[in-house]
């Protein structure tokens, strides 16, 4: 292609921008380590080449070629890579994570390279294949300058789209996936589809970029799509800052300009500039990981959470605000309130360990039931069984007359039974308010399509979500650090935020696993007050606690467990009156 050398260089950098920005969604936001970037990029390029090619390889061999116009090739590339992304995501989204994902995407890369260099009839093999000159809607693009503007427009569009996704509630879900999927599911947010969709979407952008680049260069060959390219793009994401789209653009421009700079300073010939570029970005990547692991522009700088901090709505409403029903006398409540949850004969065996044996109890509306017993009695296991985190061998869990056996934690949370984890499971990299906002159900912006198709409705709902999240932070007395990153907060503060998050789900059955353990006495009192107020407001509460102080303060009824079985049930006075149980609890 004729035209200026500078425009050609700028186009190369622009391709890198598009790849980096889209990978940031997957790697930076969703935390999914993919090394398949080059493979998706190449897959798009090859799809376009095959669909638009003239049907002859460099060696004159005739190839399969429908000879579509460029737009056809582009659409084909998007479809093929989107599908490929979903296929790679299929195992990744459900069971495969971490190191397995690296291996999986690496294997996909090698598979792609092997196929392209082997399937000579389709791809022209190691020699590659030619594409016709680029033309768009009948308009011939003949110079590199014209092509550059087209490529630039594409990169800007991709950057804006990715930035929009990152800043949307969907982006918030992705960041939640990166931090802790289990916690997210327990809040009633599905994680599998957002992850798969992001895989497909990232792949499709890489594929479309590949199609444009192939048409631009009018040539594809397997060596272009090397693992080095995948590493380069991942390096740009890490350098720019995972979860920061602007950072990605800056890093891509910097790293992409390295080679032309090296070549044109006269220090290196064009042969040695390539390895030197690799050495330099490799070293920068390592130094960055050691000294500035969050990257040049860390997440949240400049964008994303900047806005949410300004809109701090909501009067500081107090816990008392929750009090909608008057507290009934403790005695009269038992027995006549509506039964919300029935646990019927739950049993679970792990190997030889009987973690739960025929456990049955009921939870009534407005009642606080404490599940107590020595360590290893199976209390947390019961919570796991109730929320569907593990499946019982026998028994049933009935929520408002409906069996929820076999439902996953996400569905159980949406049905109104939410769980507070013993180990908090706060989403460390997110701000306090983002943590709580993830608890709010029914968010329009959590559907990727609606982010783009009905932005007004998404924005309106997002304002409501922010108000609700802030309100819940006020409720627990944590509004003061709404904008702080959860990682930087003290454990007690994190517990309060986890509580606000739980309340935000609007669930009316709350399973609390040691909400006051490891918390300073003042925060503990705060939590006790909160739990009491919640019960008075009509929530159904089951609490696992070790502190007898907390239990006697709160519990209407106690279920005593030992070695996986219920050994006693009654009021605090009844249980503390039984010598055998007291001995069991404190040890003899």
């Amino acid at each position: 292609m004729a035209g200026s050398y500078l425009a050609d260089l700028a186009s190369q950098v622009t391709f890198l921008i598009a790849l980096t920005v889209s990978l940031n969604l997957l790697l930076g936001f969703a935390g999914q380590m993919s090394l398949a970037t080059a493979a998706f990029y190449g897959l798009g390029a090859y799809t376009c080449a095959v669909l638009t090619g003239q049907g002859a390889s460099l060696t004159g061999q005739s190839l399969f070629a429908p000879q579509l116009p460029f737009v056809g090739g582009l659409v084909g590339a998007v479809l093929v890579t989107f599908a490929a992304g979903l296929i790679v995501a299929a195992p990744a989204a459900r069971r495969v994570r971490g190191d397995y994902l690296i291996l999986l995407t690496l294997a996909f890369h090698f598979l792609f390279v092997t196929v392209t260099s082997t399937w000579v009839d389709l791809t022209g093999g190691p020699n590659g294949m030619m594409l016709p000159p680029l033309s768009l809607f009948g308009f011939e693009i003949t110079t590199t300058d014209q092509a550059f503007w087209m490529v630039l427009a594409w990169a800007i569009a991709v950057s804006l789209i990715c930035w929009r996704i990152g800043a949307s509630p969907f982006g918030r879900i992705l960041r939640g996936v990166r931090e802790d999927e289990v916690a997210l599911q327990a809040l009633g947010k599905p994680t599998v589809w957002p992850k798969s969709l992001t895989f497909g979407f990232t792949a499709a952008i890489a594929g479309a970029t590949g199609a444009v680049s192939a048409a631009y260069m009018q040539f594809v060959a397997p060596t272009t799509y090397s693992l080095d390219l995948a590493i380069l793009v991942a390096a740009c994401v890490a350098l720019g800052g995972a979860g920061n789209i602007v950072g990605s653009v800056i890093a891509a421009v910097m790293i992409g300009s390295l080679r032309p700079l090296l070549e044109n300073t006269g220090l290196f010939s064009s042969d040695t500039a390539v390895p030197w570029q690799t050495v330099i970005y490799g070293v920068i990547l390592v130094l960055c990981m050691v000294f500035r692991p969050a990257g040049l522009l860390p997440e949240g700088i400049g964008f994303a959470s900047g806005r949410s901090r300004k809109t701090l709505p909501g009067e500081p409403r107090n816990v008392v605000d929750l009090k909608r029903t008057e507290k009934a006398a403790p005695g009269s409540k038992r027995g006549d309130a509506e039964i919300v949850v029935e646990v019927r004969g739950l049993s679970k065996t792990f190997g030889g360990l009987k973690a739960a044996q025929n456990v049955s109890f009921n939870l009534r509306k407005g009642e606080i039931v404490a599940l107590i017993g020595p360590n290893g009695a199976g209390k947390s296991t019961i919570f796991n069984l109730m929320t569907g985190a593990i499946c019982p061998d026998e028994g049933d869990v009935v929520l408002r007359g409906r069996s929820i056996l076999g439902e996953d934690p996400c569905r159980v949370a949406n049905l109104g039974m939410a769980r507070y984890f013993q180990h908090v499971r706060i989403l460390e990299g997110l701000t306090a308010i983002d943590n709580v906002a993830l608890g709010v159900p029914d968010q329009a912006g959590e559907k990727l399509s609606r982010v783009f198709l009905s932005p007004v409705a998404v924005a309106r709902r997002e304002r409501e979500v922010q108000v609700e999240a802030m309100h819940q932070l006020h409720n627990v007395g944590a509004a003061g650090y709404a904008g702080e990153t959860a990682r930087d907060l003290a454990f007690g503060q994190q517990k309060l935020i986890a509580f606000a998050r739980l309340l935000a789900t609007g669930a009316d059955v709350l399973l609390l696993d040691e909400p006051t353990s490891g918390v300073d006495p003042r925060s503990a009192e705060q939590i006790i007050e909160l739990v009491r107020a919640l019960a008075q407001a009509g929530k159904t509460i089951c609490i696992v606690e070790h502190s007898l102080h907390v239990v006697s303060e709160l519990a209407d009824r106690i279920v005593f467990m030992d070695a996986g079985a219920v050994v006693g049930e009654g009021t605090v006075a009844e249980i503390t009156g039984r010598q055998d149980l007291v001995e069991l609890y404190f040890g003899t």
Partner: protein, 310 residues
């Protein structure tokens, strides 16, 4: 390393039953040779990965460095092949230790994420290979001089180099297995692998154990690299594919024990050689990836389940 080094030509159509048996025996011999090589690589990656939780992709650079060490010693300096062998192992071990002490340890102390450690490893692998190319040029390097001979037993033939390599791999895996299971140092390694915090609590010096496994794993990779360099050539990215197959072997067999890792590597090598009987070499590679995918999805703990590890 060519995945099916020295494979017999599958095109010669067997004319009789005896011929088929001959060909089969030949393939079994090659399968064992290839399988042991990959078992060695898988074990070398496994001992580092399982003990330190580091996805050490820069292992491929260790491999290449060992290859170039052999070239420098035996070819450039004109010293004996034995010295080249020693240089390979020592350089590999030193490089592995250096990267652990200077990079991974620092990252862990700064509580870097798994992703951060992996990306640094990638950075080292990419930069190192490029640096080798800058220093030694892109041309492949040969180290001739091994008294290679073809041993024939009927129709079955195997070169002395293949035999030596396979034997060395077997001995190395056996030695490391004995080290891990029979010695107090091995117990310490197992303790760190199972629970680093608890190991530290009972007085095991975790950072020294990490250094040790990097030395052992890297030297094992160095052994494989030496054999390849002697048999074929050394080049900057020579480590990428063998290490990739080693990693696949680990996950194929099961990351819970050295038995699993070595078996996975062995099965992988065997599979590659046998697929050569009726598939082209590249299709064999595709077959391996397919098997890997199936294992990852349906049996993520690998072929061998193990109580230790996840």
């Amino acid at each position: 390393m060519s995945p099916v080094a020295g494979q017999s030509s599958p095109s010669s159509s067997p004319s009789s039953y005896g011929n088929v048996m001959m060909q089969l025996s030949q393939l079994i011999v090659f399968g064992i040779v290839q399988g042991l090589t990959y078992a060695l690589l898988a074990s070398s990656f496994w001992i580092i990965y399982s003990t330190t939780r580091t996805f050490h992709l820069a292992h491929s650079l260790t491999y290449a460095i060992a290859g170039y060490a052999a070239y420098l010693t035996s070819e450039q300096l004109g010293l004996s092949l034995w010295l080249g062998f020693a240089a390979s192992l020592i350089c590999a071990a030193l490089f592995g230790c250096a990267i652990e002490a200077l990079l991974y340890r620092q990252l862990r102390r700064r509580s870097s994420t798994v992703l951060g450690i992996f990306l640094s490893s990638l950075g080292i692998a990419a930069a190192g290979a490029a640096l080798l190319q800058i220093i030694f040029g892109p041309m492949v390097k040969r180290v001739p001089g091994f008294p290679n001979a073809t041993l024939s037993y009927g129709e079955i033939s195997v070169t002395t180099l293949q035999l030596t390599g396979a034997l060395a791999a077997f001995v190395a895996i056996g030695a490391v297995t004995i080290l891990l299971t029979r010695t107090s140092v091995g117990n310490a390694v197992t303790a760190v692998r199972t629970n680093p915090k608890l190991a530290m609590a009972v007085g095991i010096r975790v950072e020294r154990i990490s250094l040790l496994v990097f030395a052992i794993g890297s030297a094992m990779a160095g052994l494989a690299a030496y054999v390849e360099t002697i048999a074929f050539v050394a080049y900057p990215t020579m480590g990428l594919q063998p290490v990739m197959f080693g990693v696949i072997g680990v996950f194929l067999g099961g990351a819970g024990s050295i038995k699993g890792a070595a078996l996975g590597g062995f099965v992988l090598g065997f599979l590659l050689v046998f697929s050569g009987l009726f598939l082209s070499q590249n299709l064999g590679v595709i077959l391996v990836f397919t098997v890997l995918l199936i294992i990852i999805v349906f049996r993520p703990e690998g072929l061998i389940r193990s109580p230790v590890g996840e």
